[in-house]
C-alpha cells in the first residue's frame, strides 16, 4: 500500500490498460514502416502521411463521441446513420452558397443533438437497452434516408471544402479538428463535474445515483454529445465529398469501427474505465494498419482479417493486464 500512496503522491499514473495502445502503435509504426520501406515505398512520405491522418480524422471524431458513450456504460449504434443524415443536411442547406455555411452548421448540430436526445430519453426514461435503442433509432434514420434520397445530394461551397482539403504542412485541417474535439472531451472528462459524474455513472450506476448524481441527465447529455460528434464528422465528410451522401456512414462502417477503436484504446466496454487519449491511440493504430496495407497494396479483405485479429488480441492483452493487477490487489488486501 505504501508504495501505492507514494506513487499517488507523486501523481504517477497507475498501471492502466489505456497505456497499452501506445506501445502497440509504436510497434505498428516501426514494423509497418520497415515493411513498406522493404517494399520500396515509404510510410512516412508526405502524401501517405497526409492520407493516413486524413482518414484518421473522420473515424476519430466519431470514436471520441463513442468513447464517452461507452465510458458512461452505454453505447451508440446509430452514429453511422447520423453521419449520413448530417452530411446531407449540411450539403442541402448550404446548396453551394457561402452564406448558408453557418446556418447549415448550426442546423446540423441541432439535428444531431436532437437525435442524441432521443437516444438518451429512450435509454433513460423508457429504460430500453442502449444496444436496442440506438439500433432502432439507426434503423429509423436509415429508412428515412433510403426513402428520401436516391444518392448524393446537395453541394457545399468551395469555402467550406477547405475543412476537407486544407492542411498545415502534412497535417490536414480535419485532423486538427479531430484533435480539438478530442482535447475538448478529454478536458471535459477531467475537469468538469459532468465529466466526473459521467465516469461515475459508467462505473456504477447505483453508486453514482446514491451519491446524488443525476444519472439520467448525465446519460442523456452523454448521448447528445456523442451524436454531436457524429454530426461534426458528418460536416467534415460533407466538406470532403463536396456533397451529402446517404450511405457514407454505413459504408464507412463507422458504428462498429468506432467501437473497435474505443476498445482498442483500452476503454472497457462495461464502462467507467478508460479515456479519450486511449481512443486517439486506437484510431491512429487502425489508421496506421490501414496505411501500411495500402502502401503494400494488400487486398482489402485480408486487411479486414488482420484488423479483426488485432482488435481481439489487443483486448485480450488488456484483459490479462487487468487480471494481473486485480490479483495483486487482492493479495495486498488479504
Amino acid at each position: 500500500m505504501s508504495t501505492e500512496t507514494l506513487r499517488a503522491r507523486l501523481r504517477l499514473p497507475g498501471l492502466d490498460a489505456t497505456n497499452g495502445v501506445w506501445p502497440a502503435l509504436a510497434v505498428a509504426l516501426i514494423v509497418g514502416g520497415t515493411l513498406v520501406a522493404l517494399d520500396g515505398g515509404s510510410l512516412f512520405s508526405e502524401s501517405s502521411t497526409i492520407s493516413l491522418l486524413q482518414r484518421a480524422a473522420g473515424l476519430g471524431i466519431v470514436a471520441v463521441g463513442q468513447t464517452i458513450a461507452i465510458l458512461a456504460g452505454s453505447l451508440d449504434l446509430s452514429v453511422a446513420y447520423v453521419i449520413s443524415l448530417t452530411s446531407l443536411v449540411a450539403a442541402e442547406t448550404m446548396a453551394g452558397s457561402d452564406g448558408m455555411v453557418l446556418p447549415a452548421i448550426l442546423l446540423v448540430l441541432v439535428v444531431s443533438a436532437v437525435i442524441g436526445l432521443v437516444n438518451g430519453l429512450l435509454i433513460t426514461k423508457l429504460r430500453i437497452n442502449a444496444f436496442i435503442a440506438t439500433l432502432g433509432v439507426g434503423l429509423l434514420i436509415k429508412g428515412y434516408l433510403e426513402q428520401g434520397y436516391a444518392g448524393p445530394a446537395g453541394s457545399v461551397p468551395v469555402s467550406f471544402q477547405h475543412l476537407g482539403y486544407d492542411r498545415l504542412g502534412p497535417v490536414p485541417l480535419s485532423f486538427l479538428l479531430f484533435a480539438a474535439v478530442a482535447a475538448a472531451v478529454w478536458f471535459t472528462l477531467r475537469s468538469t463535474r459532468y465529466g466526473h459524474h459521467l465516469i461515475a455513472t459508467g462505473g456504477d450506476l447505483d453508486v453514482a445515483r446514491l451519491s446524488g448524481v443525476r444519472t439520467d441527465r448525465v446519460l442523456i447529455r452523454t448521448h447528445v454529445i456523442c451524436s454531436l460528434c457524429a454530426g461534426i464528422a458528418g460536416l467534415y465528410l460533407a466538406s470532403r465529398l463536396g456533397a451529402g451522401a446517404p450511405r457514407v456512414g454505413a459504408e464507412g462502417g463507422y458504428d462498429l469501427e468506432s467501437i473497435a477503436a474505443v476498445v482498442l484504446g483500452g476503454t472497457v466496454l462495461a464502462g467507467g474505465r478508460g479515456g479519450v487519449t486511449g481512443t486517439v491511440g486506437g484510431v491512429l493504430l487502425l489508421a496506421v494498419i490501414d496505411g501500411v496495407f495500402n502502401q503494400l497494396e494488400v487486398d482489402s479483405f485480408f486487411k479486414q482479417m488482420v484488423r479483426g485479429v488485432v482488435i481481439v488480441a489487443a483486448v485480450a492483452v488488456y484483459a490479462l493486464r487487468l487480471r494481473r493487477t486485480s490479483d495483486r490487489r487482492k493479495a495486498a488486501v488479504a
Partner: protein
Amino acid sequence: MQPDSDQPLLRMRGVGKAFFGVRVLDDVDLDLHPGQVHALVGENGAGKSTLMKIASGVYQPDAGTLELSGKPVTLPHPRAAQAAGIGIIHQEFNLLPERTVAENVFLGREPLRRGLVDRRAMHARTAELLAGVGETAIAPQTRVGRLGVAQQQVVEIVKALALDARVLIMDEPTASLAEHEVELLYNLVRRLQQRGIGILYVSHRLTEVFDLSGRITVLKDGRRVTTLDTAEATPDTLVRHMVGRELSHYFPERAAPGSAGAARLQLAAAGNGRLRPVDLELRSGEVLGIGGLQGSGRSALARAVFGIDGFRTGQMLLDGVPVRVRSPRQAVRAGIAYVTEDRKGEGLALSQSVLDNALLAQRAVQPRWFARAARTTTVRELLDAVEVHAAGTGQEIRYLSGGNQQKVILARWLAMKPRVLLFDEPTRGIDVGAKAAIHDLIRRLADDGAAVLMISSELPELIGMSDRIVVMRDGAIAGELPAGASEEAVMGLATGAATSTEVPA
C-alpha cells in the same frame, strides 16, 4: 446555526410505502434530535431499509410527511436529501474502485473553481477529513480499488462526513468491520454526536445499539412497535418487541466433549498466496469456529479449502485421503459445501426462482437432460425443513429476506449431503429470528456427523456455537481455544496482544 435540541432535526410522521401493492411501511413516526444517536432496530423485512431510503431521498413515501428542523420537506432525489443535510452510509460500499479517494469522497458535489472541478481543493479537503478520523495512511489520489476493505469503509464514512450532514444515517456500519475497527467507529460516532449531528443508527447487533444509542425505535412488519430510551430498555425487552415473542437467544447445545468423530478434513502445511502454511484438523460432528480480524486469512482459508483460490503448497486430506481441489466444482464433488459471506455477489442467481436456486448445485454438478422429479421433491422438502418463507418456490429469490435467502442456500447444500460445510459469516445481516434457526441447523448438521467450519466476526456467535475456536492472524493460525473461551482471549489472539511476535506477511 444549531436548532434548539427540543426541536427535532428530522421528524417523520405517518410515513407509508408500498411496492407492487405490498405494504412494506405503514404509518411510521420518528423523531431525531440534534446530538442524538437514534437506533432503528427490527427483523429483516421490518421496513428499516425502506424507511432509511425514504429519509435519504432514494424512495418517495406514498403517505406521510418529512420535516427538517420544523420545515416540511420533500426529497425527490438523493441529491435533495444531501442538500438538506442528510447523509447516509450504506451497508455495501458505495465506492468506485476505478476512481481516486478524493473523487469518491466528493462525487456528486465536486468543489468548483471558475466552473471547473478544483482538484487541489478536493485533495486538500479530503486529506483534512481523513486526518479528522485519524486515517493518514490513505492518500487522496489513491485509486479506491487499491485500498483494503477496512480502509474503504473509512473512505465511505469520510464521504458521508464531507457532506457536513446534520443528519447521518448509518446502515449496519459495522457489518464489514473487524472488532478493533468497530472501536474506531464508536469514537467517530461520538465525535459526530458532539458536533450536534443527529445519527439514525441501524444495526442487528444489539450490543452496539446499547453501547451507542440514546433512543431506540423498533419496527416490525412495516409498523412502529415502540420508541423508548435506551436506558429503559433491556436486550430481552427489545428482542420481544422485535420478534413479538419472548426469545432470549441462547445457542443450541454443544456436542458432548470428546464426542467428536474421526478427522474429516486435515490440512498439512497447506498454503497459498494469502495463507502461510496451515495445519488444521476438522473432525466429523464438531463445529470448528474460526476467529480473527478482517483480512486475517479466515475467508482465504475457507476459499482455499473450497478451491476458489486453492492451496498451492502442502496437502489436504478428506477422510484421510489426499485430495487436490482446484475448483469449487471439485470441492462440491468431494462433498464440501461453502456458504459464502457475500450472499448477493456469490451465493444467489437473483433473477431465478427459489427452486432453481436451491437446485443449482445438483444441476451444476450432476447435470441431467431431463428434469428429475425425485430431486425436485427432495429439495422442496428441504426448503420446508429449513422453514423458508416465500410466496412459493417459483418466486424470484430477490424478493426474499436475507434470512430466507440464506436458508435457501442451506437447502441447496443439504441436498448435496456434504461431508464438510464451510460457513463464512452465516448470520451476517440476518434478523434475530432467522439467526437462531440457522444456528440450530448448523448444530444439527454437526450432530448428523458433518464436519462444520464456521467463520464469524460476531464473538458471541463464535463462542456460543463452536466446540473449538481457531483464531487467525496475518494469514496464519495464531492459536486455538477451547469451547466457551472468553471474548478477551479471542481478541487477544486476533489482535496479537497475546503474542505480538508475528510479522505481517
